[in-house]
């Protein structure tokens, strides 16, 4: 059953969400894998930064569902997921400008024209 889930996004991943620290997605099912699929659909590329090609949560990423640490992607989610980068100061705004251009996250790291010093 589809459900609406609030997702809290750490600083290193906000280039995918247009700088937003919180996004809302509609997941097709009740599992964390469903929520991640919905996040990926809205913010292409973000899932692979958290989950490797074998479907494992990356070593320094922690996912919490309703405040409980999720051990794998079969964890059930009710309405809230927090993404945490382990021991990462992560609530500052992005130092670079970021925006969404169609389906792709775009990061502009240098002013136009390049900011020569």
């Amino acid at each position: 059953m589809a459900r609406t889930v609030r997702v809290f996004v750490p600083g290193p991943l906000r280039s995918y969400t247009g700088g937003r620290a919180e996004v809302t997605v509609v997941a097709a099912g009740a599992l964390l894998s469903d929520v991640l699929a919905a996040i990926e659909a809205n913010h292409p590329g973000i899932r692979f930064r958290m989950i490797d090609e074998a479907g494992r949560i990356r070593e320094h990423i922690r996912l919490f569902a309703e405040g409980e640490l999720a051990r794998d992607l079969r964890t059930k989610v009710d309405g809230e997921v927090q993404i945490i980068c382990a021991i990462s100061g992560g609530l500052q705004p992005l130092p670079q400008r970021s925006r969404l251009d169609g389906q792709n996250a775009v990061q502009e790291f240098a002013a136009r024209p390049i900011d020569w010093q």
Binding site: F48, R49, E53, A54, Q107, E108, F109, I114
Partner: protein, 382 residues
């Protein structure tokens, strides 16, 4: 080498990438704002077939590896839609049992053959070979290598590689034949394919391997950097963990040319740089490979060594570099040459300095200082 208007150096570091722009005559350099700031950039490379395009490999501390693309000379960067990733089901042997094989980072980027615009290759850690046919936007596994039945034998178990992870690097494309490829692996050795990566054969005869139980092993060696000369594609040079070598491909055997280096310097190092027009001339940057391998300049006295006769003799080039306390080294893709009439040479150090020579290595001066640990330096004309 692409022909553009202004020489740039593309610098990949532990904390992002920077561009250095020639301020005139290769005497002074302007530095850009950081690109992919805070992420580890292992390689940033211009596309010689479409010089405004660049590809960059990036890994942030907590996040998975990715690739970024620019189509406007480095102003705007967009993430690849499908970064390199091993196909499901591939494993990596480990002392903890077989593990799923996953890309830790993209280490090496190589534009494909001149006749194949948009084609790129990427080498990863652990050893993996990937191909993009759309300028780096999406990447596919080269299964002839990654899914080869002998991959585990060639590449070893997870714990058997170097401390920073085993890597596939030195992807060389024969300018006469797009299907003819060479790769280097640390560890694994040099391998060759004549069918665009569908099958591979080791090419390590003559290479010392004092760290292997069988010194005459067919593979398992540790090439640090392998270069094919574009004007003489049957000549290969190699800076290996166990010395400097040259191969004339028809002979199918590496000759150790580093034995002519001074004994107190030795012939261990990471990079190997070839003269763009003279197949007999190349440069290396020796490091201390004694005892526990400090991997610094020998004695703290950095120097480049040059041969102009394909390795029969070597000369020391260090004018302008620190005469002492230069306890740094240069990684394998952190030294390069430009296409100038008098070839410019450039290297970046593990302590964040870029050094430049506008006279083929005779004299050196710092082009930039205070950068993070430098992991790659490439020349580009924009």
């Amino acid at each position: 080498m692409p022909t553009g208007t202004t020489l740039h150096l593309l610098i990949g570091t532990k904390k992002g990438a920077w561009l250095l722009r020639d301020g005139g005559g290769r005497r002074s350099w302007n530095i850009s704002a950081p690109i992919c700031f805070g992420t580890s950039v292992f390689h940033i490379v211009q596309d010689p077939r479409d010089p405004k395009r660049m590809v960059l490999s990036s890994k942030a501390g907590h996040l998975g590896p990715t690739v970024m693309l620019s189509a406007d000379g480095g102003r705007k960067w967009t993430e690849a839609a499908k970064p390199p990733a091993f196909p499901a089901g591939l494993t990596h042997r480990s002392q903890h049992g077989d593990q799923p094989r996953t890309v830790d980072h993209v280490f090496w980027l190589q534009p494909g053959h001149a006749s194949q615009p948009g084609l790129w290759y990427a080498g990863t850690s652990p050893q993996g070979l990937f191909r993009s046919q759309d300028y780096g936007r999406t990447w596919e596994s080269v299964d002839g290598f990654n899914a080869n039945a002998k991959w585990h034998d060639w590449c070893g178990a997870k714990e058997e590689g170097p401390p920073d992870g085993a890597r596939l690097h030195s992807i060389n494309v024969d300018p006469r034949d797009a299907r003819h490829l060479y790769i280097g692996m640390s560890s694994g050795g040099v391998f060759e394919s004549t069918d665009a990566g569908a099958s591979w054969k080791p090419l390590n005869k003559g290479i010392a391997a004092d760290f292997l139980p069988d010194p005459n092993a067919e593979y398992g060696h540790d090439p640090h950097c392998v270069r094919l000369h574009p004007l003489m594609p049957d000549r290969l040079y190699q800076q290996n963990h166990c010395g400097i070598y040259r191969m004339e491909r028809a002979e199918a055997k590496w000759e150790r040319i580093g034995t002519r280096m001074p004994k107190k310097i030795g012939d261990v190092g990471f990079p190997m740089v070839l003269h763009p027009r003279d197949p007999d001339t190349c440069w290396v940057f020796p490091m201390d490979g004694t005892s526990v391998w400090p991997r610094t300049s020998p004695g703290g006295k950095p120097a480049v060594y040059k041969t102009t006769n394909a390795g029969r003799t070597w000369s020391r080039l260090s004018q302008g570099m620190p005469e002492s306390n230069g306890w740094w080294t240069v990684f394998r893709q952190a030294m390069t040459a430009d296409a100038g009439k008098s070839v410019g040479l450039y290297f970046g150090t593990t302590q964040g300095s870029v050094w430049a020579s506008r006279d083929e290595g005779a004299r050196w001066r710092a082009a930039a200082e205070g950068l993070p640990r430098i992991q790659s330096v490439e020349a580009a004309y924009l």
